[in-house]
Symmetry: C2
Subunit: 318 residues, 2 copies
């Protein structure tokens, strides 16, 4: 009997690189991390990844010939042919990172994707989407990212804007400017940063008691979520606003693509059912045309979504 083949998923972040060994059927066998070396504009990064994969295979007693390929997610726009024009966080310009990795791994197939898109693919495949062929992931972190999966494949978009849900204009009465140059983007209210900002606005607008005030300048999005869930009325009002605009954005996507499932991920998604119920309420309100439409679920892979999605890029159709 021949030994089964192995795939590698790599999720390159600004601080650490997450790696995972997977069976051909997509089971995570081992995961580990290495630091992201920024020396000389990250010149060592791809060699570090290749060496770490070879070293781990060796330590695990897995012959290199069993390696079927590696998928890699990177924090920047990736063109269809794997070209990265610029990746600010990694100081990359005009590179084909997957080709470089392949050369260092004896020519095995290596594919590249944007990290948010890879995470979406991971959640669609093995996470909250649990096998959905069409899924849209909305990641609520420092910013709001997203990824669109159709027919089991990432939709990067013709100009790399596919899944840039965080910059949908949802709020007309927003006077502050978003990083993108717009006003009233989803990210301005539904990201961790946005939630804190909204909370501070609400607190400034009233004398009403709220336990959020006890946190002072150290107030975090997590505090707002937790206090809202525990019944603090002002914190709940903030989360209601977050739910409204998330529900609206999901409604827009449902009426464009009509995917099977929407997956809410990122740190803010730890708010769980409390947030999901609010999102669902406004999604229903803004999409009365049919009750028969994509469901909203919470992500389930946490920080592993990226390596799952990355390895999925090189696995055969399962």
């Amino acid at each position: 009997m021949t030994e089964s083949r192995i795939g590698v998923g790599v999720d390159v972040g600004g601080t650490t690189v997450k790696l995972g060994l997977f069976s051909e059927r997509g089971e995570l066998l081992k995961k580990w991390e290495i630091p992201t070396d920024h020396t000389d504009d990250c010149a060592n990064l791809i060699p570090d990844i290749a060496a770490s994969i070879r070293g781990t295979l060796s330590r695990e007693g897995i012959g290199f010939e069993r390696l079927m390929g590696a998928g890699m997610g990177v924090p920047g726009p990736v063109q269809a042919d794997g070209y990265v024009e610029v990746c600010v966080n990694l100081h990359w310009k005009n590179r084909y990172p997957a080709r470089e990795l392949s050369e260092l791994l004896s020519g095995i197939p290596c594919y590249l994707a944007n990290d948010a898109n890879a995470a979406a693919l991971g959640e669609a495949w093995r996470g909250g989407g649990s096998g959905a062929k069409e899924a849209v992931l909305i990641t609520l972190g420092t910013g709001v990212g997203g990824g669109v999966i159709m027919n089991g494949h990432i939709v990067p978009g013709r100009h790399g804007l596919g899944g840039e849900i965080g910059h949908m204009h949802v709020r007309d009465d927003e006077a502050e400017q978003c990083n993108c140059g717009g006003y009233g983007c989803l990210e301005q209210v539904a990201s961790a940063t946005g939630i804190v900002r909204e909370a501070k606005r609400v607190l400034a607008s009233t004398e009403e008691h709220s336990r959020m005030r006890e946190k002072g300048d150290g107030l975090t999005a997590r505090d707002v979520c937790d206090l809202g869930r525990e019944g603090d009325p002002l914190a709940d009002r903030v989360m209601e606003t977050v739910g409204r605009y998330l529900g609206l954005a999901i409604s827009h996507i449902a009426l464009t693509l009509d995917p099977e499932v929407f997956v809410i991920g990122g740190g803010v998604s730890r708010a769980g059912e409390y947030l999901r119920n609010k999102v669902q309420k406004y999604y229903d309100q803004f999409t009365p045309i049919s009750r028969n439409r994509g469901r909203v679920v919470m992500a389930s892979l946490g920080n592993d979504a990226g390596i799952y999605g990355a390895v999925r890029l090189i696995l055969p159709d399962l």
Copy 2:
């Protein structure tokens, strides 16, 4: 030399059925219409279509053996396998119309699509999209319809809501209810009906002079477009509102799917560059994240978009 093969495109409407004979390469060779016979819940409709195709081939001296297939667009939701649960305008229930047509045409391949989706495919392929692989059509007629094309294929959506752009909530300050049950849908402002309604509101809100007043109750969307283009300030203000919400909806879609091109069709699109420029202005305003994104063009096939898209369903990849 063998004679080239022929495809048929059929666009079934509530009043007439449009038909077209096309070359294998997609050139329209002949088009014609037959009335939609509503007798006995449209029992004669598919037989009429089959007979008309056979009759026309015969009159044109084209042997039936050259017929490679027929595509058909119908005014209602179509499931992926060609099943029509209900089609209100044609009194259909639980039918497979393309199978019925195929049986009456000696078993040639026949495929079915929703008519708005077929029109989108036609415009993407041979109309304003001129060969785009990803295109989104927005049809401004009595209502606002749409269709999404990805990779040269229709995206019907998992529950048939793909391209239901007309029911995107875009306007918070709308107190009147849309047919869908929502408030502030794109259709309420950008359809022919919506434009007239908006114009009447603007006229009622001011004593200001406008040539729209001369039209009285007979005011049409075309009047509003024409007068706006000719410089009537109030009509122009109405069209500015239309452009704003269309531009906003297009921005939402660009940040989800990022298609190559947006095609604006339907009767209202006769407003041409005057409307296109307004849409572009707000699309730019709401999508400052990148200048590199899908362009906005006007549809160019008029009433033929449906037969082009229908025949495309059965042509090989060109």
